[in-house]
């Protein structure tokens, strides 16, 4: 690991003042030229960031620690029944928080992710923004498309853990287990920029397919931080679940995961089904026909 400078940020304004770029940009190198030289990046739990640095895939000049920003780890109900999940809430917190419990698929997804040690440190924001696990992407020896290279090694290579949908240009699967559940709930993501201005967008739209830009998995802009994720008020009678299937149960990534949210009417009939597949595509993949089918079937 290369030496770096450490900055404790107390507010999002300080983060921006530090001139942070996104990790995605910091990792792009084309024709031997880095897109950003001497990058400054932000760190939450640091699980993914440290991995990238230890592998020398990312060599930041400066690291801005977000952990000191007060209140960013809060989970709280909002007016209008929305639930606000602070970006620094840990995955472990999401698994047990009573306010999250009604969003069963999210609590399940949090419980199903990674290992207890990792869940205790990993944050919601970091989990959504972690880089993909594609083994070529994680190898210093493979300068692939996602890092600014010319080749996607997964095509014609070892791609048993890669995408089965939307894999044109790059075949990663989105690594976030939480995202599978959050998209199923139609969650929105709140981003805060330099001027402390907030923008909010549907999480589903925040994720970016390789056909749009193969160098990044999401629409985070330089200088922005994720401040929160917002869950819409749960419809009465809504039920949800998340299932993770891995090759083994201890300490393994899903080979498939799925979140299902069903909304029923007063008669108990399903009116709406939201089905999202994880580990299947470069972004959480909404299974539209399955969702529609489930709703129709229940209605009949």
């Amino acid at each position: 690991m290369r030496p770096f400078e450490w900055i404790e940020a107390a507010s999002s304004a300080e983060v921006t003042a530090a001139g942070a770029t996104t990790v995605a940009d910091a990792m792009v190198m084309t024709n031997g030229h880095r897109k950003v030289s001497d990058p400054t990046v932000v760190k939450a739990g640091g699980i993914d960031l440290l991995d990238l640095m230890k592998e020398e895939l990312l060599q930041p000049r400066r690291i801005v620690n977000l952990r000191g920003i007060a209140g960013l780890d809060k989970i709280a109900g909002q007016e209008g029944g929305r639930l606000r999940l602070g970006a620094l809430a840990t995955v472990a917190q999401l698994a047990v928080d009573p306010l999250v419990r009604p969003y069963a698929a999210l609590a399940d997804a949090a419980r199903n992710a990674a290992s207890p040690q990792i869940r205790n440190v990993a944050t919601l924001g970091g989990n959504l923004l972690q880089r993909p696990r594609c083994w070529y992407f994680r190898s210093v020896h493979h300068h692939c498309v996602r890092k600014g290279g010319e080749t996607c090694f997964a095509f014609g290579g070892e791609n048993q853990y890669h995408a089965i949908f939307d894999h044109r240009g790059c075949a990663i699967v989105h690594p976030s287990t939480l995202a599978t559940a959050l998209v199923a709930f139609d969650a929105r993501i709140e981003l805060t920029d330099a001027a402390e201005a907030k923008r909010e967008t549907a999480l589903e739209e925040f994720f970016v397919l390789p056909t749009r830009d193969p160098h990044r998995e999401n629409d985070l802009r330089a200088g922005e931080i994720v401040s929160a994720v917002l869950l819409p008020k749960l419809a009465a009678g809504a039920r949800s679940a998340h299932l993770k299937q891995a090759e083994k149960e201890s300490f393994d990534w899903p080979i498939a995961d799925v979140a299902v949210v069903l909304e029923a009417d007063a008669q108990g009939l399903c009116r709406r089904a939201s089905v999202v597949l994880g580990a299947a595509a470069p972004v959480p993949h909404r299974a539209r026909s399955a969702g529609g089918g489930a709703a129709r079937q229940a209605a009949q």
Binding site: H141, H142, G156, G157, Y161, E247, E249
Partner: protein, 794 residues
């Protein structure tokens, strides 16, 4: 051995759960008297808690990675980014100038890989030195020692290497093609042990294919198959498994005015000492190798690897101690592995089950090493007078393999034990009944009987009879492993005048608990508690101990430990005799007392007796004598005992026919190791063997990228290993099998415990779903593919 110097003694003989009789053996002079069965002993055969348990769980144990010496530098290795390349030039000047760098070393010898017999034809470097080709991605090229790990890493990036990149091949099948890129340009020497049995030295080599070796061939298979009434034939594939030691390979080398001291995570201090003395031109008494706690080896830490030699070269150049510790990538890529194999196995049998012929055709790859064979499993497990084998090594551009827990026999058993299962079905025989007919070993027979009872074999259904989504099944498989003994194994027992006792030997405790075992043996002889014995081991300044590989540590070092303790006992009794007014022969030692056997109340405490010593301390040395019944064969320092070790394992699995996931619910492992000395520690060994076997069966697989030649899962994230939630209930039974062969009659356990697990699981899967999986690992994808071909519901 029936000459005048030996004497006749009676030893307990037989399996405790069957019946114990007696056997007469001629015993050389100086041996401790025959040891009664365990139920008549105080400490041997008891589960004395492992001495280092507390230190291990509290983090107090000192592993090689924890060694810190004053002025110690940090060494790192530069590794080849190319799977096959010639080093045109190498310029280390910028690295040498980097702040904090104290030494740079260019690797000229790579140990562990096969060696070409024809001298290197590549042009030498400007300084006349010839550098080996980098034959795999990750091959060591150079090393740097610096004051911090970061400075060393930064300096590595400053080494300029000009490579001529060459074509490569990393796929076993592609490498067999006569047109494939050739890994070695001339015939290689050496016979690797990764396959368990050394292939003959003079074998043909064409392209990447070396062989055949025809190990074990006997009788006439053509005739045997002609006589056969039933035959089975199948093709089996096993993957590369890596050792995954918790403590990665680690060395701290200290070259100083008096010679060389190396702290090393090693399975064989004495062997490494000899190796390094030769490599660095030092007399053996100037080289000292030490290891305290160790985090696993499994065969991969038997010698002094390239990284150790690099650490020494750096220390010599820098004039300071140098620490080199592999990171997990290096551990997965370049510290050995279990070879991948292909096996075509054909068995012919008579209607009554007797085998008429076995024919084994195999090829496998140990990467850039030799020795990808499949051991002696097919050749030796069952009675069959016609056996034919044809085994080939195939070279690929990958890190060299080395021995790994039950080398050869582990993949070998995966094939043979499934074939025998298949044969039983064809013969309409129960798999256990067939084995009763073709396995001559009374030990294995008893193991089958006990295991069948514990797993509930009688409720086993016919293969594929289970219905529903989750289908259960039970399977069985056997293990076979030679009972190895190191005759070059010795120790010293010392008694001080204050009554303190210590044992000294270079034998190392690689995590298996030999410290505790040795204390039990010495305590038993001296009538003290094991806790009263101090163990000084893992240091070549002490008498040469055995290696801890080939499951031979206990078998080799416990007899001399007991004999040395016995000598001390005799000396102590002689000193005490005048004081008690009787002859030494009338005295005995027990419960910390010297007493008159006929009048137990009369005696001295052990301490009082020791205080009578004429000198401050007395010492007795003993080395391993031959087994009383003789060895089957002896080669140099290593010998093979008359009777093999083994075991029988049963697995119960649940197969999810929708997801293809196999869950192992229960394993019953019935094993033997002669006289068990510490049952709980043996149980731990068996549990470890079962877990490693389960992980091999279902998860582990080193993945090499065919287009780029890199290991893609050189980490513990994508290289999958069984974890806590994959751990089944493991029921371990250890036989007491007395053979009257040595002062302790104890043999090994580690490897035999690993061999039967994967085939037992495979046979259980077959029993559950009615389809046979002949390839490892048995992944969900493999299960689903197999079921897709099966006559199954959808």
């Amino acid at each position: 051995m029936s000459d005048a110097t030996t004497q006749q003694e009676k030893f307990p003989f037989g399996i405790a759960s069957v019946s114990i009789g007696e056997i007469e053996r001629r015993v050389p002079p100086g041996e401790a008297p025959p040891l009664p069965p365990n139920n008549r002993l105080a400490f041997i055969g008891k589960s004395v808690p492992r001495f280092d348990a507390r230190a291990k769980v509290t983090g107090a144990s000192r592993f090689t990675v924890d060694v810190k010496l004053p002025g110690m530098l940090h060494g790192r290795l530069l590794r080849s980014p190319h799977p096959n390349a010639r080093i045109v030039s190498i310029d280390t000047s910028a690295a040498e100038r980097h702040p904090g760098v104290r030494a740079v070393h260019v690797v000229t010898d790579i140990v562990g890989r096969a060696v070409e017999q024809v001298p290197e034809t590549d042009p030498p470097q400007p300084n006349g030195v010839r550098l080996p080709r980098a034959l795999y991605a990750g091959a060591p090229i150079a090393a740097v020692a610096a004051v911090t790990p970061d400075a060393a890493a930064a300096a590595l990036a400053l080494i300029k290497v000009e490579y001529e990149v060459l074509p490569f091949v990393v796929d076993l099948e592609e490498a067999r093609d006569p047109n494939a890129p050739v890994v070695f340009r001339s015939a290689v020497a050496g016979s690797g042990f990764a396959g368990g049995v050394a292939a003959g030295a003079e074998v043909a080599q064409q392209g990447n294919v070396r062989g055949p070796s025809r190990i074990g061939t006997r009788g006439d298979v053509t005739k045997g198959f002609a006589e056969a009434e039933v035959t089975v034939e199948g093709e089996y594939r096993t993957q590369v498994q890596t050792h995954c030691c918790m403590e990665t390979h680690a060395a701290v080398a200290d070259w100083h005015a008096d010679g060389l001291t190396v702290y090393l995570s090693t399975q064989f201090t004495a062997g490494v000492r000899n190796e390094l003395a030769a490599a660095f031109g030092l007399p053996r008494n100037r080289v000292r190798v030490l290891v305290d706690a160790m985090g696993g080896g499994f065969g991969s830490k038997s010698g002094a690897g390239t990284y150790v030699r690099a650490a020494i070269a750096l220390s010599r150049a820098a004039g300071a101690p140098v620490r080199v510790v592999h990171d997990r990538h290096e551990e997965q890529v370049d510290s050995g592995n279990r070879p991948a194999t292909f096996q075509r196995l054909k068995i012919g049998a008579h209607r009554d089950g007797r085998l008429s012929a076995i024919s084994l055709y195999t090829y496998g790859t140990a990467g850039t090493a030799t020795g990808a064979g499949v051991g002696n499993f097919a050749q030796a497990t069952y009675e069959c007078s016609n056996f034919d084998s044809e085994q080939y090594d195939v070279f690929i551009n990958a890190g060299p393999a080395c021995a790994m827990r039950g080398p050869g026999n582990t993949p070998g058993a995966f094939a043979l034990e499934q074939a025998v299962d298949e044969l039983a079905e064809k013969l309409n025989l129960d798999p256990l009944a067939l084995r009763d007919r073709i396995d001559a070993s009374p030990v294995r027979r008893e193991e089958r009987r006990i295991g069948a009872e514990r797993i509930g074999w009688s409720r086993r259904h016919t293969p594929g009879a289970d219905t529903g989504t989750i289908r259960r099944g039970i399977g069985v498989a056997q293990s076979l492993w030679g009972a190895n003994v190191q005759t070059n194994a010795s120790c010293e027992v010392r008694l001080m005048r204050d009554g303190s006792v210590e044992l000294r030997s270079s034998v190392q405790d690689i995590g298996t608990g030999i410290r505790t075992v040795l204390a039990q043996v010495v305590a038993e002889e001296l009538g003290l508690t094991p806790q009263a014995i101090t163990l000084r081991i893992g240091d070549t300044d002490f008498p040469a101990g055995p290696p801890s590989y080939g499951s031979r540590t206990t078998a080799s070092i416990t007899p001399p430990a007991r004999n040395a303790a016995y000598k001390i006992k005799q000396k102590l009794l002689e000193v005490a005799a005048p004081k008690l007014g009787v002859a030494a022969g009338a005295l005995d030692l027990r419960d910390g007392r010297v007493f008159v056997r006929a009048e137990p109340a009369r005696g001295l405490s052990f301490r009082e007796a020791a205080a009578l010593l004429r000198t401050d301390a007395i010492s007795a040395f003993a080395s391993r004598s031959d087994d009383y019944g003789g060895f089957r064969r002896a080669m140099g320092d290593a010998a093979l005992a008359q009777n093999d070790l083994g075991g029988v394992q049963f697995a119960q699995v649940a197969v999810d026919t929708e997801t293809g996931i196999i869950r192992v619910e229960r394993v019953v492992a019935v094993q033997d190791c002669g006289r068990p000395i510490n049952p709980e520690q043996i149980e731990s060994q068996v549990q470890g063997g079962v877990l490693m076997g389960l992980s091999y069966a279902l998860y582990e697989d080193r993945i090499l990228d065919r287009p780029t030649g890199h290991v893609l899962n050189a980490d513990l994230e994508h290289y999958k290993i069984a974890g806590p939630r994959e751990t089944p209930e493991i029921d371990v039974v250890v036989l007491e099998n007395y053979q009257g062969e040595s002062a302790t009659d104890a043999y090994g356990i580690a490897e035999p415990a690993n061999i039967a697990t994967a085939p037992a699981i495979a046979n259980a899967v077959y029993n559950a779903i009615g389809v046979r999986l002949r390839q490892l690992p048995m992944t969900p994808a493999a299960v689903l593919a197999a079921l897709g071909r099966a006559p199954y519901g959808g």
